[in-house]
Amino acid sequence: MSLLQSLKARDRVFDFMATEASPVDVRHGPILYMEDVTVSFDGFKAINNLNLTIDDGELRCIIGPNGAGKTTMMDIITGKTRPTEGSVWFGSRHNLLQMNEPEIASLGIGRKFQKPTVFEALSVFDNLELAMAADKRIFPTLTARMTSEISDRIDDVLETIGLTALRFQPAGILSHGQKQWLEIGMLLMQRPRLLLVDEPVAGMTEQEMERTAELLTGLAGKQSVVVVEHDMGFVRSIARKVTVLHQGSVLAEGSMDQVSNDPKVVEVYLGSDEEESA
């Protein structure tokens, strides 16, 4: 339980997360701004003029039944999918629709996938090293050397995600939960301005969930965090503001209590619950 202790002594633990000066311009308004975004596959609209804004340092939870377009939304933000129409801005300077994944990533948007994807052939240590914010062009990468401060940073993160013992094991042998943590660790190494976290606690134990909650809330404020989650308990435990997606557009927005009392939301969820049980 080294982590819980470390979490108590914030000033020491989380200093490595201090965000570096980033080009993102948030002086006026939100850090992420999506307007009238629509995506359609063969006519089917996965996203239907969606409007969403995330403020700098905000922790936002996004919920919604299957097929509501949560993952697609993340794909759009990270540049994997191009919307049919609409605009997506990162801060007030960067139009994300004109960038590809690596550019967006190096701009400071980190993403954790629904299904944890780590580099299984590489050791936990290597996974973190690759993720680390650094000069990621070819020759710097080729000639990169291991310095003490880099390994210190990696060690710190290893400790935070509790994988120190497994540092030299290939990520392939990790348990599902451990992979989730490793991926979070990689996010931390990236030092993003905006974290997109897709179902972080799937397959986690109660304790692990607790730690994740701590971590995410701890991140908020310095970095903006968007969490997509099914687990209502977890959402409730961290949520300040919740957005409900349905059929590709925002159904409701507000505090957890507001939305959970919203009749539309209830209706949708009852319906979707049956689907899920089916």
Binding site: T78, K80, N100, E101, P102, A105, S106, G110, R111, F113, T117, V118, F119, E120, A121, L122, S123, F125, D126, E129, L130, A131, A133, K136, R137, I138, T141, L142, T143, A144, R145, M146, T147, S151, F168, P170, G172, M186, Q190
Partner: protein
């Protein structure tokens, strides 16, 4: 293979620190030395004497081994199954061949000071522009690396930019080498058509028809193999190498943590193509002919088999595989010609189904050495 943490050494000298590389270089140079001694010191007629024919044979194997290493670099570490590496090999070979043709000078059958024989009897009155400069060794040798590199650069740029990967890439690489084969068969191309380039005399002033030169080429090939091996090791043990592995296993993820995947792919692809070209250049003077059949898809896919048999993503495995298969080929086609294609075909099936990690994988098991790297459980790129 992956080192535990990137050591703080200079990236190129890093491989010398590894046991695997040390053993490999040890064995290689021991072999070179052994053959040289047995060839020179042991008198003709003594049962242990290695004659020029055998030296030449081994020289050929070594150039194949270098080619295999090049293929392993892209397939093993980048997950790109290139069925067109024979093309780069052949182009390197042609570059060398053109140099050797120019070295013939006026000793050709027609005694023409400039034009190679085939141009004379097809009635060409002057040298095609792309043949100029190949009379200069430095230029020709530069082309040995640059020509395949350039082709790889253009092809790779288009392919990787539009994210053509996996099977699609394999198929179009195959189409590439097939198209080149057809092209080089055309006599209008000015590369001697089906006959290709032959009748070489001298390389840098050394008579290609003397045993001494053959020994020299054999050793040179060995050294080239060593250097190529070290370069590849240096790449795969660097952080860049790990980015490659990352790309191989989860391309999208690698993009999301900020790497320009296509550029890394392109870089490694080009390096590999250049190595293949070098292998071709060393191959040609030893076998004395280069012609379009080196472009044949069959050859390219055979190279992949060498790598698969030796063990993917372990460079030394590629070397073992190349030597094993070609050695078997020499024996079989000598003793029971009909059996050869059966054997080759069976190898393809057995290796992929029963021996996905190849000979190297077996050795690893036997030694029970727990290594830090695990070759991809799903080799699919």
């Amino acid at each position: 293979m992956m080192t535990q943490a990137t050591s703080s050494q200079f990236w190129l000298t890093r491989p010398f620190g590894e046991r695997a590389t040390q053993t490999f270089l040890g064995v290689l140079f021991a072999a070179l030395l052994l053959v040289t001694v047995l060839h020179l010191a042991v008198p003709q007629g003594h049962p242990l004497h290695v004659n020029a024919y055998t030296v030449n044979l081994f020289g050929k194997y070594l150039s194949y081994a270098l080619l295999a290493v090049a293929v392993d670099l892209v397939w093993g570490y980048l997950g790109i199954l290139s069925l067109g590496h024979g093309a780069f090999f052949a182009i390197g070979g042609y570059a060398m061949g053109m140099y050797l043709m120019r070295q013939i000078g006026d000793r050709g059958t027609y005694g023409h000071p400039v034009l190679p024989d085939f141009m004379v009897f097809l009635n060409w009155d002057s040298l095609p522009w792309y043949w100029h400069g190949f009379d200069m060794a430095w230029f020709a040798f530069a082309m040995v690396l640059l020509a395949p590199g350039l082709l790889a650069l253009v092809f790779g740029f288009l392919a990787f930019r539009s994210r053509v990967t996996g099977v699609y890439l394999s198929i179009i690489t195959q189409a590439l080498t097939f198209a080149l084969m057809l092209a080089f068969f055309r006599n209008e191309m000015g590369f001697g058509g089906n006959n290709g380039l032959t009748d070489f005399r001298e390389l840098l002033g050394f008579n290609l028809r003397s045993d001494a030169t053959r020994l020299g080429l054999f050793i040179a090939t060995g050294v080239a193999l060593a250097l190529g091996y070290i370069l590849c090791r240096a790449i795969v043990t660097s952080k860049l190498g790990r980015v490659c592995v990352a790309t191989r296993d989860a391309e999208a993820r690698t993009r999301f943590i900020g790497y320009r995947v296509e550029r890394f792919q392109l870089f490694v692809f080009v390096v590999s193509a250049m190595l293949a070209g070098l292998a071709g250049a060393l191959y040609v003077p030893q076998v004395g002919i280069i012609n379009p059949s080196e472009f044949s898809p069959l050859f390219s896919i055979e190279i992949v088999l060498w790598v698969a048999l030796g063990g993917r993503a372990t460079l030394y495995g590629a070397v073992i595989g190349a030597i094993l298969v070609n050695y078997a080929k020499t024996i079989f086609t000598g003793i029971m010609p009909d059996a050869w294609l059966f054997a080759l075909g069976a190898l393809f099936v057995l290796v992929t189904v029963l021996l996905p990690k190849g000979v190297a994988g077996l050795l690893g098991h036997l030694k029970r050495r727990k290594e830090d790297d695990h070759p991809p459980k799903e080799a699919a790129a």
